[in-house]
Symmetry: C2
Subunit: 301 residues, 2 copies
Amino acid sequence: MSERDVTICEVGPRDGLQNARGRMTTADKIRWIAALAEAGLPEIEVGSFVRPDLVPAMADTAEVVAAAKRIEGVSIVVLVPNRKGAERALAAGARKLTVPVSASRAHSRANIRMEPEQAVAQVAEILALARDADPPAEVAVGISTAFGCTLQGTVPEGDVVRLAEALAEAGVEEIGLADTVGHANPAQVKRLVRAVRAGVGERLVGLHLHDTRGRGLANAVAGLEEGIRAFDSSLAGLGGCPFAPGASGNVATEDLVWMFEDMGLRTGVDLDRLLAARAILAEALPGEPLHGHLARVRCAA
Amino acid sequence: MSERDVTICEVGPRDGLQNARGRMTTADKIRWIAALAEAGLPEIEVGSFVRPDLVPAMADTAEVVAAAKRIEGVSIVVLVPNRKGAERALAAGARKLTVPVSASRAHSRANIRMEPEQAVAQVAEILALARDADPPAEVAVGISTAFGCTLQGTVPEGDVVRLAEALAEAGVEEIGLADTVGHANPAQVKRLVRAVRAGVGERLVGLHLHDTRGRGLANAVAGLEEGIRAFDSSLAGLGGCPFAPGASGNVATEDLVWMFEDMGLRTGVDLDRLLAARAILAEALPGEPLHGHLARVRCAA
């Protein structure tokens, strides 16, 4: 693997498929994840340990983790919404968990049926579980609705900073800010990254951006200019949030990689192989709306 | 009109319609331009004085100018590719002309059948014509393919700076940089704006950005951070360049306004009225692909 200037975490198999219209088979998920790893993505969020009756698309995550773990050179991440999910994830052999904690009280209640304070306490329990696992697992936290919430509206920056500080105090070493509903603008990204950095320093690692208002790439550049070097994205811009009305897809991996590479930043990701992974996605989820500019430009050329 | 922090020039009636699949009637153009002015856009490029046999969509520009001039509070601009176009524009009563000059030699030849040096000499002639008009008219120059060219490939930054300097020497007081084919990235925008500013100072006024690679907004923010306060855009992202294969639409006016306003910058443009103008566009060009995130989000809400 070449050295990288930025680290892109592909979240399509989780954030994308969780919100897709169609359902991808387990075999296709595994094939797709292998192609994403083959394209050079250093980290892939392959699924979530949520209630299968609520999110049937994620019911096979244990099986996907088992297969994905066998791929070399890629870090496999799973999302866990609560303690029970973390137990299932660790039992399935997951070595990196990401826990969403909402800065918006309304979103927290709707999404995980908890107040943010309860969510922080639960993160502490998950940290303990992960520490006790053999081998110990990593835990990252994504602060969702950090830039706004369709349910609550504005999310005060102070709320986000306090939440990040509480998480750092609980022992979280990797914190991300998520623009769950795509409300962020570049000025706000710069402001909030600075404010959270002032509170928790280098524990603020990444950004998870959505392209709802078409500003995903502009917001990524804003984060980059404030020192952020880790970005979530999903191939073809798949994804959203079922509990945040109006939210459309994640920033498209291929366009993010393409822009960063054009800017002279090494992502370690190969665009042609990414398009090959996109072909698998298109085949495995027929009829799904796929976004992203790279495929369109390449096809027109 | 409120004070503005940024000035947006709507180029849809020119750049958009010149490259649209369908044809808009003169009456619809006038109705659409009136709605764009009603939305608060301070400047509208309403057409071009090009050869009607080559670009039939622009054949009625004199008539459109005559009607658009009667709208109060908006600056009406027309594109002229050469001296003959400038003569026609001035005869039609146009008071602001914009002349494209390509930094790419290959694009210059294909687009206006001239070398860049000939184009600068011709700009000097157009400046003289405009000065002698009664009342005198303004002349701006847009340096096209400033960030790359599908025909020539890379366009050296030195070529763009030298061209801008030659234009300034010829007496041009308003210069814009156009990403005609949408190859620019935010790092490049910052670099080139700085380099051209070092050469011609405040005569570098604006950016004309395309969204081919999805970076239109990111590039606008990059320009903004380097002090640019004037941006071209087209409603619904209409537009492209018929002689630059693969180029898709301009950055969408509604998304640019929306982002700037969210960033706390006053554009003087009303989003609801912009959507009303978009409805006219949709009606007057049925079947035309319309881009932009605002309409999609508003409709989903």
